[in-house]
Amino acid sequence: MRDRSARLGWLRLPFWLTYLFLYAPIAVLVIMSFNRAKTPYTWGGFSLDWYGRLAENDSIRGGLVNTLIVAFGATVLSTVLGTLLAVGLARYTRSRLLDALSTLPAILPDLVLAIGLLVFYTAVKMTLGLHSVLIAHTVFGMAFVSAVVRARLSHMDTSLEEASRDLGATPITTFFTVTLPTLAPGVLAGALLAFTLSLDEFVIAFFTAAPSEPTLPIVIYSMVRFGVTPEINALATLLLAVSFTVVIVAQRMTRLTEALK
């Protein structure tokens, strides 16, 4: 054993290099968000000024509200459609074509989906707004929900559903009282995934949002494009805190459900 770990010794260098590479830039942003100095590159003492500035920034607040509306809507829609799709694909069809179609939005480059929807919205003369972003985010959100729920379905014991049916329950009753509760952790995980992806999504929103109603990533993009503003460091730190919390909570939750199984 000693011998083997010694042999792996040289692997430690790229291993730690990877983590240094992944975390150093983030650490710099977090430290800089508490920096009093105006230039974001030198240290002028600890301060929370930039967080105050951030709270007063209307375009960021507006972007955040828009993003939350889109993310909530797209999550609800993706979860319902994606879960039904997963159940249908597992129980009612063997078509590999439909199977491939359900995962296509997750594999397709975001830019291609973005231009496709822009072309489509223009062709049907649909005005752009939050609804057009919401629909776009549902397209890929449901692919992820359906993939996660199907993974859960493939581990599921079908005898429970059969028992329910044998005891005279209708398919609808069986779905709501047996299938759905068993799938719940998968559905929840899929919903969380769809929500996080939507919160963060930039490229598709950039093509399908109305200029008057930008989502938060679009607001950040325009701020970053026109130079460095220390407020972004504060915003970055807050967003980091949120996503880290969500990921860790999700991790704990899946461990909890696995323990309960």
């Binding site: 042999r7 792996l8 790229p14 291993f15 290099l17 990877t18 983590y19 590479f21 992944l22 830039p25 983030i26 710099v28 942003l29 800089m32 974001p40 590159y41 319902v80 459609l81 039904l84 799709l85 159940v87 249908g88 129980r91 009612y92 069809t93 439909l98 179609l101 359900s102 296509l104 939005p105 480059p109 975001d110 830019l111 291609v112 231009i115 496709g116 822009l118 072309v119 489509f120 062709a123 397209v139 449901m142 359906s146 398919p171 996080t196 963060d200 490229v203 093509f207 990533p217 950040i220 993009y221 970053v224 460095v228 972004i232 460091n233 970055a236 996503s243 880290f244 969500v246 990921v247």
Partner: protein
Amino acid sequence: MTGTGPPVAAVRKAAGRLVTLGPGFGFLTVFLLVPLALVLSYTVFRRGRFGGVVHEPTGENFTRLADPLYLDVVFGSVKLAVITTLLALLLGYPTAYMIAKLPAKWKVIALVAVVLPFWTNFLIRTYAWIVLLNSEGMLNSGLKALGLGPVELLYTDGAIVAGLLYAYLPLMILPLYSAIERLDPSLREASANLGARPARTFWSVTLPLSLPGVLTGCVFVFVPSLGNFVIPELLGGGRRIMVGNLIRDQFLKARDWPFGSVLALAVIAVLVLLLFAQAWAARRAGRDA
């Protein structure tokens, strides 16, 4: 329910199929298949004056791809995407290998730590590199202190590669990890017992069997690197135009939708080709194992 005969069951099955598959595939047909079909059809029409198309068939959108101006863009972006992919593989393979060898508890922590930055806003991750590479940034202050700087780091091809690598490295590590994790340890032991040295075991057993994971990781890094337009703009300062920028500009600036559609089609073709290569390698590795 005792009277449930075959016809009722068949009706139920059809109803179940319609209720579960209908809404999802209906939605995907309208908002995915129709848009993709439109993009595909636009490749053979003339451009409209203010975006859109004029319905006159033409082949010139495809011949424009051969214009040296655009070929330069394509080769330039393929070069940067290849460099990014190779660096990701160089850094990602040993990391994934090491994670696969960690004790179970540390394995989970190491994997979550790889994915965690991926869950933070992509623009903010890119912005972090502006802060790092700026002429008055961290790295340049360090170089200045050593008497080596300042060097222009931002707005270079190197900055673009750093940004792309930072954005997509987790997509390389995850498939590599799952491929290495799945390997049967007895194969490596057999190789060692037969007298092969660790390096030989790696080159003739571990690496070939983890090749599908390597290819999946490469596709996951290469394709989005090719199509990214934000990183070349923010970290490359717009000096380097990549395929993603070109597509974006055709739709939002130049209003040449047919040519933009041809470029998008080219990206999809590359993706499909690479996925086929990956599937082929996976089948081969499965046969060898």
